[in-house]
Amino acid sequence: MGEPVGEAELVERFPWVQISHDNKHLYRGWLERELRINRCRDCGRFHHPPKPICPECWSWQIEPTPVSGRGVVHLAMFLRQGAPAPGVDYAVAPHPVVTVELEEQPGLRFTSTVAGAPLEQIRIGLPVELEWIDRYGAPFPAFRPRRGGR
């Protein structure tokens, strides 16, 4: 693991992201293939996207905390057109985008794609887990159906 990457390098690794002091920990986590969601040290609540305070109790004691990446699909759509990305060809197949409710906390959600699953399997209610894929040479957190469906 070693030293966390500097801010200049972080911006270079994620040219499509508006890196800020509030979200830089999330993206540093990606480089180490770890999904880190902000958690409040005082009240214990997770929140996402990253904010400078805990929106629940207004504490400043925010800690980017690794989560399991396990959850259940809450919203699911299939894009027939959209922004370009390597490996995404809308002419070949619709691109799935899912919002997953993470098992750590009700209502805590993370949005990404589903990799390596037949489209007909991707439905609201599907149990999923993290699957790191590559996006422009940097790790990118996606989901895959949970093995055994549990």
């Binding site: 499509w16 992201v17 919203l75 759509m77 894009l79 959209g82 922004a83 609201i124």
Partner: protein
Amino acid sequence: MPAPQSARRYPIRDQIAIVGIGSTEFSRDAGGRSPASLACEAAIQAIHDAGMAKGDIDGVVGVAEPGAPRANQMTALLELPSVTHHSAPMPVAMFGLIDAMTAIWSGQCDSVLLYFAFTRLPWNSRSAARDPLRRYLMLGSGTAKPPMPESIDPAAAYTAWASRYVHEFGARREDFGRVALNMRANAMQNPKAVMKTPLTMEAYLAARMVRDPLCMLDMDVPIDGADAFVLTTTERAKRTTRSPVVVHAASAGVVGRNDEDQLPSLARHGQHVVVESLKARGEFWLDDVDVFFPYDGFSIITLGWIENVGYCKPGGAGRFLQEHWDAKSGRVLIGGRVPMNPHGGSLSEGASRGSGHLREAVTQLRGDAGPRQVANARTALIGCGGFFFNSQGALLRRL
């Protein structure tokens, strides 16, 4: 839910009148005209319609649409001699209405020009992408980052929550389709509308899918065009207008968790806050509403408004549209009486982000809607904006 804190105290009720309206035709290509040119046309019409002249306008509220002139630029375009309030609220339309109302009521100014100018953008229109004079409006041309396919920006987020609506209530594509069909049938009675060819359910079901579960006809149509309004005190309006149209109540609404994918649920978002607020502030509701204007930037938003204002239960909008369908005119008539967006809405009149809804509400309440006039229309309910950060609404009435 508790009533809003302002419920006991709503001094602006009925105090602000809309005394002038103006608008261009809405088109898919205004030819060699700039957004400023369109805004000027609508603004001059509205000021003349109000029976006012340059020197009467001392407030300018210009909604911050891409490419539209800013309020100070509009003041320069019209050479308004002396303006004491100008601002650039975000879309959609009621933010501008509410800003204009509060500016007048508080005494910052007496009469406001409120305008909206729309220009098709290179990312939402192929012909606009080919137009060299629109190149500066390209996304990513400034400091903005290019989006990723997984960006849950507002457009994609409506589709995402539409998937939840289908999941929770077993909604069918026909339920969304009836929203589109209603708007098209209404637009065919509106000379300003951009979409005037008949639409059938077969054609809706065959339309190109854009982001499943929504298709091209679930999304509003980008246009070139402009709307403008003049607002002043009801007191002044009574001296100059026979039966002025006044804003009975208006409200924005947003919940704490409004990040698109973190919204609590379809049962609790900005529209619910708006409805609670309007019901507490206003003195009439659905039984006394003559014309209904639910926002339709996406068809799912319309289904949400129908349910959330209380015409039916959550998940019941599809059935409601079916039950209140007027087969003869191919559109909705609630209780055989109340039409829904008689101008054709954003889906078929064109994507004016609510200014078309507001203009048609005033037109109907003045009795000036010609062949699409609702008999004796005295009240209108506008549910504007979507679920996340721009839910808002207004009750209008004719004095």
